[in-house]
């Protein structure tokens, strides 16, 4: 495989954003995701290859280590930051249609709930997997999900909740989304949830981690 792409994968996995970034210490002074993505484009590597062979494997590798408890939230967020940096350079190709996004994913933390670390990780990972992500933030009211859906009727929706008290709020969001957009797939997640709860409130999919969400979304796209 191309050397630039291989290096890029490593940068994503280890959260090396750019040459300036002091993290990880073992790669201090070396170029990062920023420079390598530019180099790859300059070398004529197709944006879709950069995404699929460079970024996605990097995110998968760090995601696996996170699920196994080998790295923690800070490292996972660094990987996501490195990936966002790479995506900045790929954005023009998405916009021009040269690289097709796999779809659009709207995500937000349900109203009443302000926890966003998990939601951010899911948003960044799904974006890195080639989806356009619209992050509505925290404490997101049902109307806000519906208004956004009106603009992007074919998208999938992700809702996060970390509080037992706000998990219940998801039910009304799912119900109203499904009433207005019966074909829209709704994914839910957050530490207190499980598949049983997801089924009960009429959501389509529960995942305990971002990787599960990506696998489900990619599958949808293949249908």
């Amino acid at each position: 495989m191309n050397e630039i792409i291989e290096k890029l994968t490593t940068c994503i996995e280890f959260g090396k954003i750019n040459q300036k970034s002091p993290f990880p210490p073992s790669m201090r002074g070396e170029v990062g995701a920023d420079e390598l993505t530019r180099q790859a484009l300059e070398a004529g590597i197709k944006p879709v290859e950069i995404l699929e062979q460079g970024l996605i494997p990097g995110m998968n590798a760090v995601g696996l280590k996170f699920s196994q408890g080998k790295v923690f939230v800070p490292e996972m967020l660094m990987a996501a930051k490195a990936m966002s940096m790479a995506l900045v350079h790929l954005k023009p190709y998405f916009m021009s249609g040269e690289v097709k996004r796999k779809g659009t994913f709207i995500i937000g933390t349900v109203f009443g709930d302000l926890h966003d670390i998990g939601k951010n990780l899911v948003a960044m990972t799904v974006e890195g997997a080639g989806w356009e992500v619209i992050d509505l933030g925290v404490d997101v009211k049902t109307e806000s999900f519906l208004d956004t859906l009106e603009k992007y009727p074919n998208c999938a929706v992700g809702i996060s909740a970390l509080l037992t008290t706000t998990m219940g709020n998801m039910e009304s969001v799912v119900k109203l989304v499904k009433e207005k957009y019966p074909l829209t797939k709704v994914l839910v997640g957050g530490a207190p949830l499980n598949t049983e709860f997801s089924n009960k409130i009429g959501a389509d999919f529960y995942s305990r981690d971002p990787q599960g969400a990506v696998a489900y979304l990619n599958n949808l796209q293949n249908c």
Partner: protein, 332 residues
């Protein structure tokens, strides 16, 4: 404090120290808003709870994770029946740390919490009264944004330390104010450190918590460090703070924690405050309480508690069930 601790260690009979203020609201007919803003209301809540439950081993005052950030100048969202929250970050670069003014004790709502502490201590609502403060890393996260603070420790560690130093300077004084108000100790809530690796927790949380412990802890004033994350691998770092007690959330199995803690330090934990105590039936609460006591019975330094603050709206019959279960367990 030492006396209280020694009596716990010497008696196999279990006492209970739930982190509990909000359920008192129903007993005195007040709202969350009253509780978080009026010291007297908070005091009347804990007083009503200890009158109803004489078995409470220690009064714990509110675990309010916004009061310190508010004192620094953060904007806070209040609502009648929900716990207040910080609405947005106060600073977005570490260069701004130099502009932060360390709040005076009494600024914002710290005054109301200290009033509650003084009243509870003066009137001996329980054998021991514990104030509550946020931990340094979690406070830094409130001021700088918690997601940003997670990566700042890797890319801008010096800046993160600058902010942590300011936070700790204030928290030391705030902790001391609880001591001066007559409390027997404080619970330091450091939830955000539960998301870190052990060496990160050590450098960016425990080291600063230790400064607070060194500043206020003595034979008459105990520091209890609360961390509700997945702390199994963080225990060693937590122990290094020198705190006399440790309080764990329900993310961990107490049986994986207790063997790691020396028998002369108290360990509090960890019934799920939301899933079990608030949303469970009285029967389930009884089963879970007895189960936890039975599983931990060999540890005299274990004190049964909720894994975190018992949420507003928890039914009184659920609290009844918790105390009944302990009484039944103690009878044998």
């Amino acid at each position: 404090m030492t006396e209280w601790k020694n009596s716990i260690l010497a008696h196999p009979e279990k006492i209970a120290v739930p982190v509990m203020t909000y359920p008192g609201l129903q007993l005195i007919g007040k709202s969350v808003m009253d509780m978080v803003t009026i010291g007297e209301v908070q005091y009347h809540c804990v007083k009503a709870l200890s009158a109803k439950y004489p078995a409470i081993g220690a009064t714990t005052l509110i675990m309010d994770l916004s009061v310190e950030a508010e004192a620094f100048g953060s904007l806070i969202n209040f609502s009648e029946n929900e716990i207040p929250t910080v609405s947005k970050r106060l600073i977005d670069s570490f260069e701004q740390v130099v502009n932060l003014k360390i709040p005076a004790i009494g600024d914002g709502r710290t005054k109301s919490h200290l009033t509650a502490a003084r009243l509870a201590a003066d009137n001996n609502t329980a054998l021991q009264v514990f104030g509550g403060i946020i931990g340094p890393y979690s406070l830094a996260g409130r001021l700088y944004d918690i997601t940003e603070m997670m990566t700042a420790i890797l890319i801008e560690p010096e800046g993160a330390h600058d902010l942590l130093n300011i936070c700790t300077s204030f928290l030391k004084e705030y902790a001391l104010a609880f001591k001066k108000a007559g409390c027997n100790g404080i619970v330091i809530a450091e939830p955000a450190a539960g998301l870190l690796a052990d060496y990160q927790c050590e450098e960016f949380s425990s080291r600063y918590v230790k400064q607070i412990v060194d500043f206020v802890q003595d034979d008459n004033f105990m520091v209890v460090l609360h961390n509700c994350g997945n702390t199994v691998s963080l225990v060693e770092s937590m122990l290094g703070t020198g705190a006399a007690g440790f309080h764990f959330g329900n993310a961990v199995d107490m049986c994986e924690i207790l063997p790691q803690v020396p028998s002369n330090r108290l360990v509090f934990g960890n019934l799920d405050p939301a899933g079990v105590i608030k949303n469970g039936s009285p029967e389930i609460i009884k089963v879970k309480t007895k189960e936890l006591l039975t599983r931990t019975s060999q540890y005299n330094n274990f004190v049964i508690s909720s894994g975190c603050d018992i949420p507003p709206g928890t039914k009184i019959e659920n609290i009844d069930a918790f105390f009944e279960a302990i009484a039944e367990y103690n009878k044998g």
